[in-house]
């Protein structure tokens, strides 16, 4: 069979994840220290695991409603109101298989061939390929290091055309750790209010912000809820990556269409995970806080250690990544990562895996114990010494 001819062109041309390449090499290497992982090192809090087990013991093994357990959707709405001042009802909420599915459903519900989707980069790798798969046009918007990798109103205005359908707003940001504060979101909202451009606000790291102010959702600003689809989930805040559970909240007509697509593709999110998630939202705010505090210690330690090595980084204020500049090494990102991997067995992810504007940077995850981070940093120090920098 000539599979190349049989496979859909759009699927064949989909941009593969640049993260995987390094993981695959690192996985085969003995004694390799990875700093690449994008999920919490914490186990799911016990109360949540127990709720999942109990749901199985009670034989709750059926499908749930397509949009998700009613009780869970109600809890999601209460949680979003309590934590982020967002006001949604259960019929504006769709429970999905991870935040990723919510992103997929949202883009598929909105984007027609030729529609432009503005993707501020560096960012998580999925928005671009999902957009192109729908026939949409991905419009990367290169964020600048001097702006702390935040989106500015001028940059947004310059990127909007009559074909712009959707803006992806991925903050707190993987890989840069940048967050958008309320005063930085307001000018963005002002630009959008004058248009018909919708926003996909990917807030999966919303609970992981550091410093004095909590995450602010663009949907909480005046006039923005009607043009925003908020995507969030349980993977990062509740350390529930393997449970595959996320959700989207937004204007009823959009959520209704997303639910229709979800009904055909997925049917419903995993039932056990949904029961567990009810407990996560009801009883586990303290667990989130204790994990966040631990990340914060590591974050501060790592930023300080990298700056001491001359790998300068602005202070990331969200997620669990640091995005240092590797300019000092004189190497392009890909080469830096390869050499570091082969000579010192430390795996970090090259910045361009998250968009061209990530060149000159690498992503380092601090979703590891301090001991692990210390070992890795000491190997990086040796590496830089041997490079003569």
């Amino acid at each position: 069979m000539e599979y190349e001819k049989l496979i859909s062109r759009a699927a064949a041309e989909m941009r593969p994840s640049g993260i995987r390449k390094f993981f695959d090499i690192a996985a085969e290497m003995k004694d390799c220290i990875s700093l690449g992982v994008g999920e919490p090192d914490f186990k799911t809090p016990w109360a949540i695991r127990q709720a999942g087990i109990q749901s199985l013991e009670k034989g709750r093994t059926w499908y749930t409603s397509n949009s998700g357990l009613k009780e869970l959707r109600q809890e999601i709405c209460r949680y979003l109101e309590r934590r982020f001042d967002l006001h949604y009802t259960e019929d504006q909420t769709l429970v999905t298989v991870g935040g990723s599915e919510a992103i997929d459903m949202c883009i598929r519900a909105l984007v027609e061939p030729g529609d432009e989707v503005i993707i501020p980069e560096p960012c998580f790798v999925c928005y671009y390929p999902i957009t192109t798969l729908t026939g949409g046009v991905a419009v990367p918007l290169a964020l600048k290091a001097e702006n702390g990798f935040k989106l500015t109103a001028d940059e947004l205005r310059a990127a909007i055309t009559p074909r712009t359908k959707l803006l992806i707003l991925p903050f707190p940001c993987n890989p840069t750790g940048a967050v958008m504060r309320k005063e930085e979101l307001e000018p963005i909202a002002q630009v959008l209010r004058e248009t018909n451009v919708l926003v996909l606000s990917d807030e999966i790291y919303a609970e992981l912000t550091y410093g004095h102010t909590r995450h602010v959702s663009i949907a909480s600003l005046p006039g923005m809820a009607e043009r925003t689809i908020v995507v969030n989930g349980f993977s990062k805040a509740h350390a529930m990556t393997g449970w595959r559970l996320g959700y989207a909240c937004g204007p009823k007509p959009i959520i209704k269409v997303m639910t229709k697509i979800h009904q055909s593709c997925i049917m419903c999110a995993p039932t056990t995970s949904q029961y567990a998630a009810v407990t996560a939202l009801k009883n586990c705010d303290a667990d989130i806080e204790s994990m966040r505090k631990e990340y914060d210690l590591r974050r501060r330690w790592l930023v300080n250690a990298l700056n001491n090595l001359g790998l300068t980084c602005f202070e990331p204020q969200g997620a669990f990544y640091v995005f240092p500049s590797i300019q000092k090494s004189g190497l392009p990102s890909d080469e830096f990562c390869k050499q570091l991997l082969y000579s010192k067995k430390v795996a970090v992810i090259p910045g361009p895996a998250f968009g061209d504007s990530g060149e000159g940077f690498v992503r380092i995850s601090y979703s590891y114990s301090l001991d692990h981070l210390k070992k890795a940093v000491s190997r990086m120090e040796e590496f830089l010494k041997e490079l003569g920098v």
Binding site: G38, E39, K293, L297, W301, Y368, S369
Partner: protein
Amino acid sequence: MYMEQILKVLETNARTSLEELAAMTGKTVQEVAAYMDECEEKHIINGYRTLVDWERAGVADVQALIDLRVTPRRDFGFDEIAARLADFSEVDSVLLMSGGYDLSLTMRGKSFQEIALFVAQRLSPLEGVLSTATHFVLRTYKKDGVLYGKDPIDERECQ
């Protein structure tokens, strides 16, 4: 709040340097040092110990947990007898317990016999001691939050 963080980090790894603690909490080295001095003075920090697996080190070491039922003294309660027990250098810890007995002791010695003799000759005859029950530790799997003899395994596949 940073103070609690410092104590938690030190409780996990007492060798964490002042510089590292300062970096982790966003404070200066001087501030951290002053806080630690204060904790030592106030006995919030009561020492810096190493978790040794003596069995692996090949050194003879026997540990025992001893449950004691005692008669509390009028006006002094359990404090007086507890203080007397704590004076024995062989005794590692003395805890007042709720439940079926009053005081719990942990102690160590070179052999079962040494500990048995200590209990028989020095603990039991003490005034106020009603009974003792000695439990010898056969193996330590986990202590003070640390798994003995095992490196934590990162099972995440998506590395």
